[in-house]
């Protein structure tokens, strides 16, 4: 199987520039997550790959099969691209049984009835619904419907399977199970997949590589660990994880270290900006890296503990100073009053 290459795709819907030149490569056998807030263009990009939206520039191809090329005026209709697409709403045809839903793609490809039967049954048993072929979609639970939608997209062995927020219609608990199930299925079958989601945890769990989109452009791409631990931009840093934002003045920036000043105190962290000292800067740190101390020290701010909250497996502490609110986790509650909150230098990014 060949790689899916998306090059400089730009797309307008009405007067809205949805995609402003996006390039993505999906190597065979890899799962890529398109991650971004709503309106970032991730679903539009997926639909453009599927052939349901038409970009006005760029190209999309798998190996030497060109799906779309604006420069050469090539546009393959959706039905001739041979991709598998799983819709957010599942889009199961209500007038067809589960078996017929899954079998439709094979029927269109002129596969013999006997072979359709074996292949559909094999796919249904792979997704654990072998016994439900005769049911209609409305007789299934949400989780089962979602599996049928995946089976329908898999059965004719598409080179790439496209998943449009396939888990977002499931309730929270089911979603975590389905996430693990889906990742296992994709790895076991050795599929190439593009998975659209706005949930960063889901993206990190499922994908080999994440493409983070912001307003129609790629903000950052790379393996989940890179995106989480080495965000390239302020947007990427803030989008991943739960964070604390410290707005201050940049007082020093050299040798990969940057220092910001707020409340007249200095915090040093990893420089993610090339700006010279003197301007404004923002420090970002993941909540789980914030620590609490009882004495002053480097990279510590004096703050007042407002409200300790018990979350079950840990405590969440809310500190405040003027307009700044900082949340931190602790294994035991602290006494209300003044504390020193530490922002470790190796975990603080300065943008």
């Amino acid at each position: 199987m060949a790689d899916l290459i998306v090059k400089d795709v730009a797309l307008r819907l009405g007067d809205n520039e949805i995609l402003k030149g996006v390039s993505v490569a999906v190597p065979a056998g890899e799962v890529v997550a398109l991650l971004g807030p709503s309106g970032s263009g991730k679903t539009t990009l997926l639909r453009a790959i599927a052939g349901l939206e038409t970009p006005h520039s760029g190209s999309i191809a798998i190996g030497d099969r060109v799906f779309f090329d604006a420069a050469r005026g090539v546009e393959l209709p959706a039905e001739e691209r041979g991709l598998g697409l799983v819709f957010q709403s599942y889009a199961l045809w209500p007038h067809r049984t589960v078996f017929d839903n899954v079998a439709y793609g094979l029927k269109l490809r002129g596969v013999s009835a006997a072979e359709i039967k074996t292949r559909v049954e094999k796919t249904l048993s792979q997704i654990g619904l072998g016994h439900l072929g005769a049911r209609y979609p409305h007789q299934l639970s949400g989780g089962q419907q979602q599996r049928v939608a995946i089976a329908r997209a898999l059965v004719y062995e598409p080179p790439v399977i496209l998943l449009d927020e396939p888990l977002s219609n499931l309730d929270a608990k089911l979603r975590e199970e389905a996430r693990a199930w889906l990742r296992t299925l994709i790895v076991t079958l050795g599929l190439s997949a593009i998975h659209v989601t706005h949930d960063q945890v889901e993206a990190m769990a499922i994908a080999d590589r994440i493409v983070l989109l912001d307003a129609g452009l790629i903000a950052q791409e790379g393996p989940p660990t890179t995106l989480y631990n080495e965000p390239a931009t302020l947007f990427a840093a803030e989008f991943m994880g739960s964070n604390i934002r410290l707005d201050g003045k940049l007082v020093e920036n050299s040798g990969g270290r940057a220092t910001i000043e707020l409340f007249g105190e200095r915090l040093t962290g990893i420089a993610r900006t090339k700006a010279a000292a003197g301007g404004k800067a923002t420090g970002i740190i993941r909540i789980e890296r914030v620590r609490c101390g009882s004495t002053p020290g480097p990279n510590r701010l004096k703050m007042e503990l407002k409200a300790p909250m018990y979350l079950g497996e840990r405590w969440e502490l809310v500190f405040a100073r003027d307009t700044l609110t900082v949340r931190a986790y602790a294994s035991a509650p602290l006494e209300p009053g003044e504390h020193y909150v530490e922002f470790p230098a190796e975990a603080l990014w300065v943008f």
């Binding site: 209709p77 039905e79 001739e80 709403s89 889009a91 199961l92 045809w93 490809r109 997209a153």
Partner: protein, 556 residues
């Protein structure tokens, strides 16, 4: 077959069917003689003749008066009825709803005949009133009575649009007014109805427009007084000069279209505005009916009184008349009861054919018409192209053509185009005329159903490998099957009721109940007319019962 070919084919045929009759009428209006007359030349002679005829202007102003009067009666009553039915706890609302819509589905000529035999000079109720009071306190054959009846029978049209708008309105606004001390009537007048003003305005223009389409009522009720409206003026023109005066008829048609076309366009704009107004508000809100307390039964009584006057009186009148030998002063009911009129119906082969043809046009013709409407709707469905606007405008053309005119225009097409002539005396001509006249209505029914198909169901089939036509066949059509069945039922009701469209096409082989009624009425065969009317009402009643039973929404 590629989808492009399908689209071009469907749109091409539809455009031809819609534009050809209209063009022929306009062309004919600029000729000095009928188009088949070799001496015919281009010119404005026909225009100057018609515009010099005082009867034309008389008919024109009468039409304006009737249309305005109708709107003045139907709009306030319809809006108030909608408020009572949608917003308040009037008793028996679920039973009243289908009854309210009856005047929409019963043929206007049948209603007109019903009024003549019920409250005409020697009508059943008139003689009763004379026995008790010594005189008849009403005069059916007056312009005022015509306006009143036209207004009252068009209340349901206003009701439908106002009710739809009211259902989309949040109730807390009304509750706030109630708490502030307004009684239910004031709540309606000060809060609810102003909020749905765009919808009411639309309904008002619609009713005014329907005033120009009016034919059955003025034909039956206006004739004895020589009250002519534009449509009856046109109808009389056929016989006025002895020779076929097509050019004069064409001019009258153009004059009518010059008024109705802008009205249709205006309705389109208003409807958009009304829909925008409603969609701003949250839908699906749980609504608590406004409690009327003492007013409850008063409101109920008012609705029942309206139903009595508009539905019961004419239908009871025509039914009773169909079972009696004669009626007049001093006649005792038991002495005159008979089934002879129904027996008589079977003695006329054209009446038998008319009944069978009516059933055929309703059942088979209705199905084929829905198939055609679906074909058009599918051709533009999910078609991202400016050509879809063509269909919007195409649909508006026949909407502006009252049935009488469309029938006339098609007759001319059949006479004008040599290879179509053999179709003229078959039911195919009637089917074509009906299908074109009801194009807008049918398209609205089918498109409404198509709107409910989620786009991703079709996109899923596309990505699975199905081309456009395959998607329509395998996914879209199976999903709208029930919507199409419902449309079929509604089109059946409309086609069975229709009377004006078939008048000019009436001939041996093309008889339908509606046009037969008009022609029999002209000969004064009241016995036959009343029996045949009852047959028509029974057919419609049966269709309505099936529709209500299946839970079909009675409006598109």
């Amino acid at each position: 077959m590629p989808i492009v070919v399908y689209r071009l084919l469907v749109l091409g045929v539809t455009t031809l069917a819609v534009v050809a009759p209209l063009s022929l009428v306009i062309y004919q209006s600029f000729l000095t003689a009928p188009f088949f007359d070799p001496s015919a030349q281009m010119g404005f002679l026909a225009y100057s003749f018609v515009f010099a005829d005082p009867d034309f202007w008389q008919a024109f102003w009468t039409t304006i008066a009737i249309a305005s009067g109708m709107a003045a009666i139907a709009v306030p009553l319809g809006a108030l009825l909608a408020f009572l039915m949608v917003r308040t706890d009037v008793p028996g609302r679920e039973y009243l709803e289908p009854l309210i819509l009856i005047p929409i589905f019963v043929s206007a000529v049948v209603i007109a005949f019903g009024y003549v035999v019920a409250i005409g000079p020697v009508g059943i109720f008139s003689t009763l009133a004379k026995d008790i009071l010594g005189f008849v306190p009403w005069n059916l054959y007056s312009l005022l009575a015509l306006i009143a009846i036209a207004g009252l029978t068009h209340v349901p049209h206003v009701y439908l649009y106002s009710a739809a708008a009211l259902r989309g309105l949040s109730t807390d606004l009304e509750e706030a007014a109630r708490v502030s001390g307004a009684n239910p009537f004031r709540v309606a007048v000060n809060v609810s109805l102003p909020m749905i003003l765009p919808a009411i305005l639309f309904a008002g223009v619609l009713v005014f427009f329907l005033g120009f389409e009016l034919f059955g009522l003025p034909l039956v009720l206006g004739d004895p007084q020589d009250v002519l409206v534009l449509s009856t003026y046109l109808y009389k023109l056929t016989n006025k000069l002895g020779v076929p005066s097509y050019q004069l008829m064409a001019v009258v048609v153009v004059a009518i279209l010059a008024i109705t076309a802008p009205l249709v366009f205006m309705q389109r704009l208003l409807l958009r505005q009304a829909q925008r107004y409603v969609s701003v508000r949250g839908k699906g809100l749980k609504t608590q009916p406004l409690r009327l307390h003492g007013w409850r039964w008063f409101a109920f009584g008012a609705i029942v009184l309206w139903l009595f006057v508009t539905v019961v009186v004419p239908l009871f009148g025509i039914t009773l008349r169909s079972f009696v030998v004669t009626w007049g002063e001093g006649v005792k009911l038991l002495d005159v009861l008979t089934l002879d009129h129904y027996r008589e119906l079977t003695e006329y082969p054209n009446v038998i054919r008319g009944i069978l043809n009516t059933l055929g046009i309703g059942v088979i013709g209705g199905a084929v018409a829905v198939a055609w409407y679906t074909a058009i709707a599918l051709a533009v469905h999910r078609w991202n192209s400016g050509w879809t606007r063509l269909v919007d405008y195409l649909v508006m053309v026949p909407r502006a053509m009252p049935g009488l005119i469309a029938g006339l225009a098609l007759l001319w097409v059949f006479l004008f185009v040599p290879f179509l002539s053999p179709l003229k005396s078959t039911m195919a001509s009637i089917w074509l005329a009906y299908t074109i006249v009801w194009l807008a209505y049918g398209m609205r029914l089918v498109s409404g159903t198509l709107l409910q198909v989620a786009p991703e169901l079709e996109e899923a089939a596309r990505t699975a490998g199905a081309n456009d036509l395959r998607v329509k066949r395998d996914v879209t059509v199976p999903l709208i099957k029930y919507g199409m069945l419902a449309s079929w039922l509604l089109i059946f009701l409309i086609f069975v009721r229709e009377y004006s469209t078939g008048i000019y096409l009436l001939g041996p082989g093309t008889e339908v109940i509606g046009s037969l009624l008009v022609s029999l009425w002209g000969t004064g065969a009241i016995d036959l007319v009343s029996a045949l009317s009852v047959v028509n009402v029974v057919m419609i009643g049966f269709g309505l019962a099936v529709a209500v039973r299946l839970g079909v929404r009675l409006h598109g």
